[in-house]
Symmetry: C2
Subunit: 683 residues, 2 copies
């Protein structure tokens, strides 16, 4: 269940941004790296082979994170908290892998993930002309949405047919450019090693987004092809010494979403409407999951993965709103916007672009009006039902007219999720569904027609019990047979969740249409704003993040906080001290394995470090490399000052936080007795 | 800090209700007991001495709970969770009384509470004519508020002067009647015994509002006069065997607020606006306190009392909204309202009363508009500042024109709170203040004038740090000297929190005026609705709860839940089984003292029991007595089905939950070695 990640990716629509050549800012396209800046500032000139190797060594976790190949034998390194979705799904009441960790002594012991899809970006093509050409001037917003959808579906489908590769058209600079990204897909992914949550997330929610840290937030998977470890050409070699103080490092990963191009109106909407709304939703979910978890240790296990995810989102969003409520940060955004608007109105050719700001003001006003009014039922089983219902309906339409998530190009990935054998806990699902029905009543009003139909004369708790108790959707076979039966099977199904999905689907679609049109208006407006920025500030820019591969860079360096100097690196010895400093507190207990290994561990081994690289959610699991493309670290967090980097970057205090490569190697050898893995690293 | 209790008491304005002679419903006035019902249903005819003795044996805790005298030597029995505010204030990092409990072996060891005020109701006088006479027909709402305020202040002041007793005019039946309640005050209150939180709140938040239960939610204080144990004439004798299955029992306590008279519009406002708003606020506070508590064990200790309180409120309100979102419960309310309106419109004399419903529709509409728009800064220190500023201003006015909380009659109680020596934790206060500034920005809008003035160019966290870091209000001496300096000292003070309170006070007053007027309109409307009900349904009624003394009654009896039969009584042996059933879970660990005493405890001793008595928040700590006025139990909770009894009573599943008197006695003797207290009981 990706409650939090859904929220994460929903926070803003795609958009554009650019930098004014200051500091280590930017999440750069691999096709458009800031080579001049590298040369001027760091005397470093990477060639094409350099970037190709790094690009192809990078891996995307479609559950919402990043990773890298670290051996020719298919080993993939990512964060424990990126792998945790799979660790959770592989766990049972008897064997809680998420909690106690895992180590495969031989490939035969590796555990197959039920529904993981890893992507390796292998090809990028500019398709701007094709997309823009298909969306004629003077179309209504509705027509523009349809035309754009159709041409993108066509490009993706023919690219897939030609290459067999996963093919996604990516909207960059909010509609200024369109790129076709092609990925090699790996769907047979197996777990090799994961440490205990106690060390992966040492310090828990309290230490999250803080620094100094002492976390082994890492785990290792292996990709397979034809039931054998895949042979990997591009992978990162393990650095002998890892990252060191003041070193220039690079981060290759998939930042999720940023909103640096946002106008002040859009930021105010985030500050005053969207973030408070999300925070209320997150806190509600957090308490609900806590309460469910209090009922017993097995309940706690079932709720844990969602709970971590929600807590992480809550803390991140609290940081964002903190930044947006800071008059000094806002003043800088206001100043920059004024300057840009002044430059536009001074140039008769650019002047018409100013209307983009009015468009955004209008779309945000409309967004505020409908905030929370849609029907969103939080339930794994209901979401399967809705997918089945919508897929059957969409498949009736010509390919170009379908909702993008049901397009032909992505069907394989969609079905992998739909038919996942990962366990669904009906009792937890019921609690979440009951609460989300109650929430829907609050937002739409109890007397709303749809609400009354959803309730069907019962209170939310009883109704959820009836729905979850009555559905057969927990069975993968049942889902497959419904899908195979097409629209007829769906229409005739008496499964209560299918019936509910049929019932609410028209309203969900009506709502979707409204937001699609608002997105389209925003897209056109931000494309104009991007144009204005290109014209007045030059073209050396990077687009806002879109959960596609980007290169960030920066120095390994500490920072000042409340007059205190925070060192860039921590070490293994510090972890034991950190435990002692927080005696008796939850989440500060090192696992037994570490206590046993204490005497054998070199306390001076670097553990975590910070750098100025510009990252955001989605970058979790990104490899950190040096100039020679050796792996020196593994991104896993940002400090609290970085939480405003969704909309503004500053290298003053904002830092990305990584696990040091040496700590991973040392732990594998000394704590986990995984010499066989260490031997494979970089080979 | 009474965050939750403030919310508890703020949830609805005073109002009226009545019963139709069904079941064990009602929170009856001691001056108007349902004697006919007692006689007819139970063949029981209490006389005036009976009710006088019970009334005078009952005690009110002004922090928001109930209690009783249980010895001639001043012993007072209440809940651990009612005493916990004091237990918290008496605790230090080194000696966490709230957590580990307390036992005074001699009176000399008893610990004086820093700011407790206990009230014993000794006299009731009907002052309806006087109050109604002072509020002439045809006044504007504003004039009516002022006139009513003036006459009430006058009555209270002269009653205080005559008797020396605390004198409160209470609005009953939403304005249908006014009673003057006079209390003997006890302000020297000392802690005698409290068990560990682990057994007082065994099962924690998970078991709260559930049944079966196993909680020793009890503690004992002693009231003093002239530095000696007070001599108490009316107290409850301890029953030899305590409550038994199917026994008729009585509950004498101070239910806080109910809203059974509410119109459907008022209930919808609760369901759609007020409760969702409160729940968001509570969840926000809950997460904030949890986060603060994660920083260390001392932080956890500091946050604990507030956290319990917030969690309790959150769970209670969730139950309320659950009831209001139940179509079947609502249908019953709708039916009753339609019936009443039909009866009114059928009678030309009553017909004009129907306009009361329109008034409520209008006031709730206005309430929805301003919901959350006021300035509410959550900080102990700020609230002291605001009290000082407002008190100095109010004292400039003639007595009858002051805000009620600054009237002469209540000044002593006000100052006891203002000058309390209870510790204030600046770091916690700062976190709460920062969050409430942030919340105020969200609700009023960042650009609001007052918000900008509150921020003073900083973000909420920095501004809170500046305010709390700069104030001297933590010092009681400083508060006293400011108060002594009167309006001049306040106006000239450069203390940052005093300055802030001066700044926002006009807006707080403007807002207060709006809600006072809405309350007045409601008062007049509900008085008309009460009139309509009297006229159509008879006069055997009880008014909605007003945190004043009431008598409830019912049978000790179990109930059905999900087809299961829940027995009325649990026993001490069950507590050990309950622990075993929840191995490894937080809040299910019995304290060491109980484990040591296990073999000596009689496992068959009744521990907790449920009855049909009609109670609500505020009844916590109420004595449960039998016909002979012997103490048989101690109210401490309601089950989850009782959570809707704020607006509707049903004896089908709704139950009040009590500690059995025998469990308290057994634990005092066997677990805590407190024979000296047991000897005093009932003597």
């Amino acid at each position: 269940m990706k409650i939090a990640r859904l929220l994460l990716l929903a926070i803003c629509c795609s958009s554009t941004t650019m930098m004014n050549g200051m500091a280590d800012e930017g999440m750069w396209l691999f096709t458009d790296l800031p080579l001049d800046y590298f040369k001027k500032t760091y005397g470093f000139v990477p060639d094409e082979k350099w970037s190709e190797h790094l690009m192809k060594s990078s891996v995307r976790f479609n559950v919402g994170g990043s990773a890298s190949f670290i051996s020719s034998t298919g080993l993939v390194l990512t964060n424990h908290h990126v792998g945790s979705d799979t660790l959770y799904k592989l766990s049972t009441p008897e064997r809680n892998i998420l909690e106690v960790g895992f180590l495969a002594k031989t490939p035969a012991e590796e555990l197959k993930a039920p529904d993981l899809e890893l992507n390796q970006l292998v090809n990028i093509r500019d398709v701007t002309a094709e997309v823009k050409g298909a969306v004629a001037e003077g179309l209504t917003t509705e027509q523009a949405v349809a035309a754009r959808r159709a041409v993108i579906a066509k490009i993706e489908k023919s690219a897939l047919d030609e290459s067999g590769l996963r093919s996604d058209v990516v909207t960059l600079y909010g509609g200024g450019r369109y790129h076709l990204y092609q990925y090699k897909k790996y769907t047979d992914v197996r777990l090799v090693w994961a440490p205990e949550t106690a060390i992966a997330f040492f310090g828990g929610d309290a230490d999250n987004f803080e620094y100094p840290r002492y976390c082994l937030d890492a785990c290792i998977f292996r990709v397979y092809e034809n039931d054998k470890p895949a042979k990997i050409e591009h992978f990162l070699k393990w650095s002998a010494n890892g990252a060191s103080e003041k070193e220039l490092v690079f981060v290759s990963g998939n930042p999720g979403r940023t909103s640096r191009i946002f106008t002040m109106d859009a930021l105010k909407f985030q500050r005053d409407v969207r973030l408070p709304f999300l925070l209320n939703a997150l806190r509600r979910q957090e308490i609900l999951l806590q309460q469910y978890g209090l009922r017993g240790t097995e309940n706690a296990r079932r709720a844990r993965e969602d709970l971590f995810s929600v807590q992480n989102s809550r803390k991140a969003r609290l940081g964002m709103i903190g930044g947006l409520q800071d008059p000094q940060i806002l003043a800088e955004k206001v100043r920059a916007e004024k300057e840009l608007l002044a430059a536009i109105s001074a140039d008769p050719k650019l002047k018409p672009l100013a209307s983009a700001w009015d468009t955004i003001a209008e779309t945000t006003r409309k967004r505020a009006e409908i905030q929370g009014k849609g029907i969103t039922l939080t339930s794994e089983l209901f979401s399967k039902a809705l997918t089945l219902v919508q897929m059957a309906e969409e498949d009736q339409k010509p390919a170009g007219e379908r909702l993008p998530e049901y397009a032909e190009a992505g069907r394989e990935s969609l079905l992998q999720q739909l038919y996942s054998e990962a366990p669904i806990y009906a009792d937890l699902d019921q609690v979440l569904l009951a609460d989300s029905i109650s929430r829907t009543l609050e937002f739409r009003g109890f007397d709303d027609d749809y609400c009354q139909k959803i309730l069907d004369g019962k209170n939310p708790a009883d109704r959820a019990a009836e729905l979850i108790g009555g559905t057969k959707l927990a069975s993968v076979e049942f889902r497959k047979s419904l899908a195979a039966g097409g629209i007829k099977a769906i229409q005739e199904s008496t499964d209560p969740l299918i019936a509910l999905a049929r019932l609410v689907d028209p309203e969900i679609r009506r709502f979707r249409k409204i937001t699609d049109q608002l997105d389209e208006q925003d897209k056109q407006a931000y494309a104009r704003i991007a144009e204005a920025k290109f014209a007045t500030q030059g073209t050396s820019t990077y687009p806002d993040a879109t959960f596609t591969l980007r290169l960030a860079f920066g120095l390994v360096t500490g920072y000042e906080q409340n007059g205190e100097s925070i060192a860039a690196l921590t070490n293994l010895g510090g972890a034991f001290k950190h435990e002692a400093d927080h005696q008796g507190q939850t989440d500060y207990k090192l696992p037994e394995s570490w206590k046993k290994a204490k005497e054998s561990l070199n306390p001076n081994t670097p553990f975590n470090f910070v750098s100025t690289a510009d990252i955001i959610g989605g970058n979790s699991g990104s490899p950190v490399v040096n100039r020679n493309l050796e792996l020196v670290g593994l991104i896993f967090d940002g400090n609290m000052h970085s939480l405003t980097s969704d909309f503004i970057y500053s290298d003053k205090q904002s830092r990305s936080v990584s696990v040091h490569s040496s700590a991973i190697r040392e732990a594998l050898q000394v704590v986990y007795g995984a010499d066989h893995i260490v031997k494979e690293l970089g080979q």
